[in-house]
């Protein structure tokens, strides 16, 4: 009985928060789609979904996300191998550097790619600006880190002895790869691929900045329908479609991930020396590094270029509002707002995430208890699957009247960002907490430690570093959050990603230069936070 009470107490807070700030907005969104003008009208939803433009948008979403996923996995696998398995000099720094794109604000990524591929850019001769290829390249840039982290972590902890046993039985290196290594890595690859597909299919900032109106995905279309065309029913219909597809995808991924025997032997192995046969993998890794470095280098160089040649002019202009009064507040003020918002979002995500992680990793004593914990685990992963735009839009239409009226609250944006960051925190903490042998706690208890004392003795020493890493991760993610924030931030109190988007939407050399400078500042801040996180060496950061 006491176990259930503790479970209920621990679950109550996060469930309430996610219920009010996630389920309510999203279901409000769904309801909006089915009840048009006060009458139940499911036909309207169906009608929206058969519009030629909607079909085109849906198809584009699927194939661009699919292509980006396949390319990310194909490029990410050799890089994961080289960076996690070989004794490559400087591999730790390279690993940290490759994590930066993942937390880079999506708007910044978009700006960087436009600069790189634009007519005046270094790769302008390819004529890729504004094409689907540019969008896919942007998505790959953004998601490579996910594949490298997730698969690399699995690869690093993969026991080498089964592979050695296979080699001793006469398997050539390629036979070892197909019959032993790949099956062992399959769960990690499938989960990385499904998460990448999810991120690609719900990508917002990148597609909006690179695709404009011509190439829209479901996500940007929802934004367009809501903010420009005011067709709320169509937007709701698309949100429902996205929700259904994402939930189905998550279910499918869980099935694919299941292996005959999940208790794989884990051990940490020393990186081995580089051999001649590693050549192709090394070349692929160099290609990955080039793909990641090119947009960033172009962005940084571009930010120092003004009409008067190389100067810090763009950075100095950040204390102003741009030419033609493009902004309502100076960029520096937006930066302060961003940091303040991200700090609030971080502690919210951290408290909730810790409670959720403790909740789902505790050993269940009975079948119903296990089932409840499993359901809760899935419940708290929902924000990962639902697009930030849907969430932001849902906030807008449901939290503006009693019982929850937060229209003008300063907490609205942090809450939305915390929900977006929640799955990241949970996914960082759960593997760590789950890795603690329950018998350690039992040993502490048998020596006379109270549950709290046992928590301090056993869990805290293991968990403080991942906790710090998770907070850095959440902070970086909140700093760059664009999808939900673009709906919720007030015009006179924007965050930096919003400001950047507004600046590139306004004509004028100075405005674009300021957008670049602001992008560099934002990217630099997130990069520094992520490098600090990387120094904590928590393998589960960014590994889903």
């Amino acid at each position: 009985m006491r176990r259930w009470l503790t479970l209920a107490l621990l679950a109550a807070g996060p469930v309430l928060v996610v219920g009010v700030f996630f389920v309510l907005p999203v279901s409000g969104m769904v309801a909006r789609g089915f009840w048009a003008d006060g009458a139940f009208d499911p036909g309207g939803v169906l009608q929206v979904l058969t519009r030629p433009r909607v079909v085109r948008v849906a198809w584009f979403t699927v194939w661009s996300a699919g292509a980006a996923t396949v390319i990310s996995v194909l490029l990410g696998l050799p890089a994961a191998f080289v960076l996690h398995r070989l004794a490559l000099p400087g591999r730790k720094i390279i690993r940290a550097a490759l994590l930066v794109p993942f937390v880079l604000p999506t708007v910044v990524v978009g700006v960087a790619f436009r600069l790189l591929l634009g007519e005046a850019g270094p790769l302008g001769f390819l004529g890729l600006d504004g094409t689907p290829v540019a969008i896919v390249a942007g998505l790959v840039f953004f998601n490579l880190a996910v594949v490298i982290r997730a698969v690399g972590a699995a690869w690093e902890s993969l026991d080498v002895r089964p592979a050695e046993a296979a080699a001793a039985l006469g398997a050539s290196p390629s036979q070892v790869w197909w019959t032993v290594t790949l099956p062992a890595l399959r769960p990690a690859i499938v989960s990385a691929a499904s998460i990448v597909f999810l991120f690609c299919a719900t990508a917002f900032g990148i597609v909006l900045t690179l695709g404009g109106v011509r190439y829209a995905t479901v996500e940007t279309e929802i934004y367009l329908l809501t903010t420009t065309l005011f067709d709320l029913q169509a937007a709701a219909a698309l949100s429902v479609l996205q929700l259904v597809v994402v939930v189905a995808l998550l279910g499918l991924a869980a099935r694919l991930r299941a292996v005959p025997d999940p208790t794989a032997d884990r051990s940490s192995s020393r990186p081995r020396r580089i051999r001649r046969g590693d050549g192709p993998a090394l070349v692929a890794t160099a290609l990955v590094l080039g793909l990641v470095a090119a947009p960033i280098v172009t962005l940084v160089l571009g930010s120092f270029r003004t009409e008067a040649g190389w100067s810090l002019g763009n950075y100095r202009a950040l204390s102003g509002v741009g030419s033609n009064d493009a902004l309502l507040v100076p960029v520096t003020e937006a930066l302060l707002t961003s940091v303040r918002t991200a700090v609030d979002a971080t502690w919210m995500a951290l408290i909730m995430g810790l409670a959720v992680a403790v909740l789902v990793t505790r050993r269940s004593q009975s079948r119903p208890e296990r089932r409840v914990r499993g359901l809760l685990d899935g419940f708290f992963m929902l924000p990962l699957g639902v697009s930030a735009v849907t969430l932001g839009f849902g906030f807008l239409i449901t939290l503006d009247r009693p019982p929850v009226d937060l229209r003008d609250s300063a907490l609205l944006v942090p809450i939305a960002q915390a929900l977006v960051a929640l799955p990241l925190v949970v996914r960082t903490l759960v593997p760590v907490l789950a890795g603690i042998d329950d018998r350690q706690r039992q040993a502490a208890a048998s020596l006379g430690a109270s549950p709290w004392r046992a928590l301090l003795t056993v869990d805290l020493p293991v968990v403080w570093k991942p906790l710090l890493a998770a907070s850095g991760f959440a902070f970086a993610a909140s700093l760059g959050e664009f999808g939900a924030t673009s709906f919720l931030a007030r015009d006179d109190n924007p965050t930096v990603p919003i400001v950047i988007f507004r600046l590139i939407g306004h004509p004028g050399e100075l405005n674009f230069g300021m957008a670049l400078a602001a992008s560099v500042v934002l990217a630099g801040t997130t990069a520094i936070v992520m490098l600090a996180v990387e120094r904590l060496r928590v393998p589960s950061v960014g590994a889903f």
Binding site: D159, R161, P162, E164, A165, A166, A167, A168, L169, G170, A171, S172, P173, Q175, V176, T179, V180, P183, A184, V259, P260, D261, T263, A264, D265
Partner: protein, 339 residues
């Protein structure tokens, strides 16, 4: 025939295997015996091609195999914990090497499973097997393509005592039935005696003694080797002379006696025995009564008495020496002949 010539292996400059030379005739079973950390597993991995040699060379049937990658050597390696592929059934594990060579044979898999006594296990997953069953599957898997050399890394040490003894006998029988040349490493001298017919004792990266198992056993090269081979005590000087004189009753005490290694049952309570001592303690075991006796001119030493006799501390006991249970320690020409 496997031949190792001056083989050395180093990890990051730390020498794990130091200048080892060994020869193994075809069909023999050689046990490399040594304490943990002595480099014996590294030696095995070097033979398998999993560790590069720092110097020296390894040849098989006269061909140097140093540069040959593991999968082309044709040696099968059986790991300490089996290392079955967890995602494959027992039958797929056993048939793995056959499939690699594109000649899958369900019949051969069945035969191998019955060879190791696991008929009917074909469709089980490794996770559902006991430790002993896993080792049997690993053995069947290793034997599937009749490797020219079977490498066994502590094949039985992960198992409990009773099972280990049974499986050791089985292992020897199976290896002999298959006519396989096998090199096994172990830290357990009982395991070595039960399975192997040749023995190499390894310490701190070097082979300190090698030869036919009986030859090594009856003449350990030094005190440490003797203790590692399971001898209870090593005597030298005057106590050794006393014991030696008791063996050849009537003989003179030798002036410069060799060191003597004694098993725990080397001295037996015997009312006509030449040695006299005082019982310090007595402990009953299922088979014999184990005594610790303070023997005149020798000191504290282990002895045995009949299970149904009664000895207690303080009693005076006469002891005789069982010559089969003592060994001379030191260089002996006979045991230096290479295996």
């Amino acid at each position: 025939m496997l031949a190792l010539t001056d083989v050395s292996v180093a990890y990051d400059g730390v020498v794990a295997v130091d200048d080892v030379s060994l020869e193994m005739p075809e069909g023999s079973i050689l046990a490399v015996l040594g304490p943990s950390g002595c480099g014996k597993s590294t030696l095995l991995r070097a033979v398998a091609g999993l560790e590069p040699l720092t110097s020296g060379s390894i040849s098989f049937d006269g061909r140097v195999v140093d540069r040959l990658p593991t999968h082309k050597r044709g040696f099968a390696l059986m790991f300490q914990d089996g290392q079955l592929f967890a995602h494959m059934t027992v039958a797929r594990n056993v048939g793995y090497a056959l499939r690699l060579r594109r000649r899958p044979s369900p019949q051969r898999v069945d035969d191998l499973l019955s060879l190791v006594g696991l008929e009917g296990y074909a469709d089980r997953l490794p996770a559902t097997l006991s430790g002993g069953e896993r080792q049997r599957v690993a053995l069947a898997r290793a034997l599937a393509v009749e490797p020219r050399l079977l490498l066994l890394d502590e094949p039985l040490s992960a198992l409990d005592a009773g099972l280990r003894e049974r499986l050791a006998v089985d292992l020897r029988k199976i290896l002999h039935a298959a006519g396989t040349t096998a090199l096994m490493v172990t830290h357990d001298h009982d395991e070595a005696f039960q399975v192997a017919d040749q023995l190499a004792v390894m310490r701190a990266g070097r082979v300190v003694q090698s030869g036919a198992i009986d030859a090594v056993w009856s003449a350990p090269v030094d005190e440490e080797t003797a203790l590692f081979l399971g001898y209870a005590r090593v005597l030298s000087g005057s106590p050794a002379a006393t014991v030696l004189a008791a063996v050849r009753s009537g003989c003179e005490r030798p002036v410069s006696p060799p060191s003597l290694a004694l098993r725990r049952s080397a001295l037996v309570a015997d009312e006509h025995g030449p040695l006299i001592g005082t019982v310090e303690s007595a402990r009953a075991t299922p088979e014999v009564l184990r005594l610790v006796v303070d023997v005149r001119d020798v000191g504290l030493i282990d002895a045995v008495a009949a299970r149904d006799s009664h000895w207690g501390p303080g009693q005076t006991v006469r002891l005789s020496v069982d010559p089969a249970r003592i060994a001379r320690v030191g260089k002996s020409e006979q045991s230096r002949t290479t295996a």
